[in-house]
């Protein structure tokens, strides 16, 4: 039956069937093959209960907050701020790109939207300054994966809701690994900039300029303080924090930047509806197949298989990482988490890995896959903005992938990187 499931699922997937329906059809075909029409009633039940979770609401609401932040041009203020802070070092714009990704990560929760917003601004600016366009695109794509690792993070909301792991705990655990990715990328950019003699920025900014840029960016910069402060101290649930973030972003747009009006509201709400339409069904359909997998005891079988190859937890983690990277290279990040999470999570817990730590490993891993050729979504976005071919960005992005893979190894084998902050806050 497991072979049957695998064959049906991958046949559908490779022939271009949407992932959500591939999952659902596989489950329905299993019921047909078992000749158990009475089990068909599982289909609508799981389709509903798979998304019947209050915590999951943080996902569309964070999408909405990000949509508004992008629309009111928060990115511009962040770029200005980063520019006056580090604009005078060699390869300045590459560093600005990465720093803004870190700052922006605290405001929104998605990677692909950030790539689009930042890339449209910075790739042309970098080219004008004498950087290779493929390098500019590669930096943008590589740094955009910081967004989902630093909280708030939509993928962590999905992971936490599905696996019943504390979302606040995941948020806390993601901070250090996310900053670490940023620092590693900056070190690499500095090296490349020196080798290729990329331009230094202008002179050092004066204190007055720094003050002015900071004042403009200050109000949106409070968002992560409100969101994270609220969630990590346990005042808000992630869903409430997301709603407050939307409210705050609207207030900034209405009263501070004055570039958002009530007439824009239906537009951003429609974007939320539209994005929800393709994400939630994956969760719903995965819940149906998840029921089948559980009744066939697939998680136990996969666990036993991995354990038979290796007895220790370190080798098991290595195998899990390789499997995830390979699958993540071909499949959407959300889908990988939704499909592989319920199978791998129990295995990791039985190996004595802390659920928060394992969550971060999975999330960093699938994010790296997001920029891995030939199918990474962030790569495509960066390519289409900069109008370069997939081949030329692929060559430029390889060193960045190598650096991020090194961070992944660190995060995997040094639990303290993820676990220190949650432990200090009493979330683990």
């Amino acid at each position: 039956m497991i072979t049957f499931m695998l064959v049906v699922f991958f046949l559908l997937l490779l022939t271009g069937t949407p992932i959500a329906f591939s999952l659902g059809i596989t489950a329905v075909f299993v019921f047909l093959k078992m000749d158990a029409p009475s089990l068909m009633k599982i289909v609508p039940l799981k389709y509903y209960s798979g998304i019947d979770m209050f915590a999951l609401m943080a996902m569309p609401l964070f999408m909405l907050a990000g949509e508004i932040m992008n629309r009111i041009h928060v990115t511009h203020r962040m770029v200005e701020l980063a520019n006056v802070l580090i604009g005078n070092i060699r390869g300045a714009l590459a560093h600005v790109n990465i720093v803004v990704s870190i700052l922006f990560a605290g405001l929104t929760g998605a990677a692909v939207a950030d790539t689009a917003a930042l890339g449209t601004m910075l790739i042309p600016a970098m080219e004008k300054d004498g950087y290779h366009r493929s390098f500019a695109a590669a930096v943008t794509a590589a740094s955009s994966i910081i967004g989902p690792i630093i909280p708030p993070s939509i993928i962590m909301v999905i992971y936490g809701s599905m696996m019943s792991v504390s979302i606040a705990g995941l948020f806390a655990a993601g901070i250090v690994p996310g900053v670490l990715v940023g620092v590693a990328l900056m070190l690499l950019s500095a090296r490349i900039s020196k080798k290729r003699n990329y331009p230094k920025g202008k002179r050092m900014a004066s204190l007055r300029e720094i003050g002015a840029a900071f004042r403009k960016a200050f109000i949106p910069l409070l968002t992560p303080v409100i969101i994270l402060g609220g969630i990590l101290t346990g005042i808000f649930t992630p869903t409430e924090a997301a709603a407050v973030a939307v409210f705050y972003a609207m207030i900034i747009g209405f009263f501070v930047y004055r570039n958002f009006s009530l007439r824009d509201l239906p537009k951003v709400l429609f974007e939320m509806v539209r994005n929800s339409g393709s994400v939630f069904v994956i969760l719903s359909a995965a819940a149906i197949l998840g029921w089948v997998l559980a009744s066939e005891q697939v998680p136990e079988l996969v666990g036993a298989k991995i354990m038979s190859i290796s007895s220790g937890k370190y080798t098991a983690l290595l195998i899990i990482n390789v499997i995830l990277l390979v699958i993540g290279m071909f499949m959407d990040m959300t889908a990988v988490i939704i499909i592989m999470g319920p199978i791998l999570h129990p295995l990791a817990v039985s190996l004595g890995i802390h659920p928060l730590h394992f969550g971060i490993i999975m999330i960093v891993n699938v994010n790296i896959a997001l920029m891995t050729p030939p199918l990474g979504a962030c790569l495509f976005v960066a390519c289409s903005i900069s109008r370069i071919s997939l081949e030329s960005i692929s060559k430029e992005i390889l060193p960045f992938i190598a650096v991020e893979a090194a961070v992944l190894i660190l995060v995997t084998y040094v639990p303290a990187i993820s676990m220190t902050i949650p432990k200090l806050l009493g979330l683990a």
Partner: protein, 171 residues
Amino acid sequence: MQRINAVAISISKVLEKILAVPLVIIGGLMLGVVLIGTFWRYVLNDPILWTEEAARYLMIWMALIAASISMARREHVSMKLLVHRFPKSIRNVVETMTSMAVAYFLYVLTREGILMVVSARSQISPALGISMFWPLLSVPLSGAFTLVQLVLVLVIDWTGGPEANSVEPGL
């Protein structure tokens, strides 16, 4: 052929628009309900019991019905890399076959969903006290609307493909 293509495209657009307006309202209500719940709980210190449940039902309606919009806009996440390398004729056959499988799934979802909704009529939701008929109704409707859009997408593809410049719905 062109006539059928144009008709199918306009039906698909009209259905999308008819659903988009209430969905935007539902999305706005969901945000509003969560904010009200948050405000009453933290600022007024007087928690309202029904907001969590109401917001959840609104989210489920929004998400499941929006699946039909994603279908119409061909935005469901999929891997098209391999299929796009096939010659056009084989690609059409393959896509028609997989669409049939999707249609069957959506048909099962709708049929079984109606049975589920009917049998849940007498169940009452814990906080709002409404019949579970209402939140569960989103499942068969999601199946049916998405199925209709899938059929329209197929018809559009058979009769010459979607318009080159599609128009955003007027929101």
